[in-house]
Subunit: 367 residues, 2 copies
């Protein structure tokens, strides 16, 4: 395995090789490097459960503005899988440590760090490549302190999915009390967050789920989250879906994470002048719309990509939104299902995340 990229990181000298009267200097110097890190690394692109291995990385120097964080938890998002597969448009060069978001505890600080203390919980903001390892060293400005009063798996996952849901609800239309939205993929974590965040804004949600054996059970669960209407795709193969609105106004905004026919179902609900935002393509099929829907119904089709948003205005815009979302978690108004997986069992968690063992909640690696 070639890890030449990582070998440029500075090794921590062994204190026993140095004389006693230098012990103060030694201690200071030893404190200025991270512990060695256990990392999940892929050297080439491919199926994640084939290419990912646990590797020991040498200590990293902690400069005066750096913060060394002991990672506590990090989720397996679909985009992590796609990066390892090599099909995601923006991805680190191999060899690379996998992972993109997570939460950790401050382990040690550079001398000029002023706003963080050992023991604080922090998340990388904007999220960045390489969170699937036990120790990370980054400049103070790259970390955002979060409350320790929430389960760590929420802090670990607050950026990619809940922030996508919040930004999509706020960035495309001026939704107001009494409005409604429609979405497919309503059982995904983003979908669950959209339902709950819409409800908090006084906005109703119309939710489309795939047909499955336990459809009724899933509908009930989704309604308990706050969904106003939940339909399976087959229930929507009627000419006039508007008859199914049950008093809810036609939605101005729709969200699509599937594509193909499922995207067309979202479009069928939209009101004159409405917008559908695509943020995923689980069906791997394109989105198709008629000319008349563009011209006479004035529908707009847009896309959303959190990674692009985060790269441009993470600190000013996104951090307050993340704090808002974490507050909602703390007060019990935002929740979603996750499953913590021990670091050593990362391969089983990966396979679950890839759908190789049936349906499982979002997998979150606990280091």
């Amino acid at each position: 395995m070639h890890l030449s990229k990582f070998s440029t990181w500075r090794h921590c000298p062994s204190p026993c090789t140095l004389s006693r009267n230098l012990s103060n200097t030694i201690r200071a110097f030893a404190a200025a490097a991270s512990p060695p890190s256990k990392a999940l690394v892929y050297e080439q692109h491919g199926s994640p459960d084939q290419v990912l291995r646990m590797v020991d990385l040498p200590p990293v120097e902690i400069k005066e503005n750096d913060v060394c964080v002991r990672m506590m938890a990090s989720p397996i998002n679909p985009s992590d899988i796609n990066r390892m597969e090599g099909v995601y448009p923006v991805r680190p060069e191999v060899p690379a440590v996998a992972g993109y978001e997570g939460v950790g505890e401050v382990h040690s600080l550079g001398s000029a760090v002023s706003n963080l203390a050992v023991g604080d919980w922090v998340i990388p903001s904007p999220p960045s490549f390489g969170t699937w390892q036990t120790y990370i060293v980054k400049e103070e400005s790259a970390w955002h302190k979060v409350s320790k009063d929430i389960p760590m798996e929420y802090a670990a996952t607050i950026t990619v999915n809940p922030l996508t849901a919040l930004c999509m609800l706020e960035n495309f239309s001026e939704l107001t009390y009494g409005d409604s939205i429609v979405q497919n993929g309503a059982t995904s974590i983003v979908g669950q967050c959209i339902i709950q965040l819409a409800k908090i804004k006084g906005v109703s949600s119309i939710n489309i789920i795939r047909d499955r054996l336990d459809s009724e059970e899933v509908k009930e669960k989704t309604k308990k989250l706050g969904a106003d209407l939940v339909y399976t795709e087959s229930q929507l193969s009627v000419k006039n879906v508007k008859s199914l609105l049950d008093g809810i106004p036609e939605p101005l905004l729709g969200f699509n994470c599937i594509g193909g026919d499922s995207a067309s179902l979202v479009l069928k609900f939209l009101r004159q002048g409405g917008t559908m935002v695509t943020y995923g393509g689980m069906a791997k099929k394109p989105i198709t719309m008629s000319t008349s829907s563009f011209i006479f119904k004035d529908l707009s089709l847009r896309g959303f990509w959190l990674q692009k948003l985060m790269s441009s205005d993470s600190t000013m815009v996104c951090r307050p939104k993340m704090d808002y979302l974490l507050n909602l978690v703390q007060s019990g108004k935002l929740k979603y299902e996750m499953e913590l997986a021990p670091f050593s069992d990362f391969n089983i968690a990966l396979q679950k995340a890839m759908g190789k063992h049936g349906r499982h909640p979002k997998q979150v690696i606990k280091f």
Copy 2:
């Protein structure tokens, strides 16, 4: 033929049936009605050359705020055809006088009209149903005075096509000097206007035309109008169309009036964050775009419909734009091909407009 709708229009009484000492009153009253109108009327939807007939309509009362206009010219637009066919989403109830825009000369005025004079040239603004007739009576506010220093066929056609081109260039992106746009259907009148209006704004145009026998001739003609690049669809069946840009920057804005594969060619040119506006669907095929183009390339798909825009802000926003366009015509900076057709030969003009006799320039009925 049932024209009960029109029979409610007030008939002009014959002066000879009235006594002499009422002659002043008679003259005043006679002046307060339009001449009878010869109109192109359809009683049912169908192929325009089958359902349209010339009909005599009775005089119409001219109220104090009304203006009676002798129509001079009115074009046959594709939307006129679609309205007669009954496939246009907003259309008058049958029986109806056809036509939607045009130009006329003020023939007589109601007593309270203050800003128009007999002989003025006026266009209906917003355009409205029923312009294919010799006399129209409408309130003063429904008419917009235009210069008499331009060929009447330009005044007759300035609203639907050139205004669409101008609004599409201005309403979707902030184009600036050195930017570029891409469009299909570049030989249409809207297409020709986009080329010339873009050039005036310092914006380059990349133009896509259908493959045809005289492609090279059409390319030369289009370049003479101001087109920077002109490609046939088959020339664009390369993997990387960006290699064909020849120094022109990737376009931020694209226009599609065809749909299907031709729309996809427009999309191939757009830069990151670009927008394609659909305003027609000549191929009668939908628009399809990949999920990744929405998410990672951040492309937006929108639609434009002049009729909706005109209905909301015609006077304040659209009239100054029409004046601007007519000034460009007057100074020779905006031109497009038209063919005047005598009113009596309306059926031949209709068939030409419907493409039944090969390619012809825009048909404009001269009353």
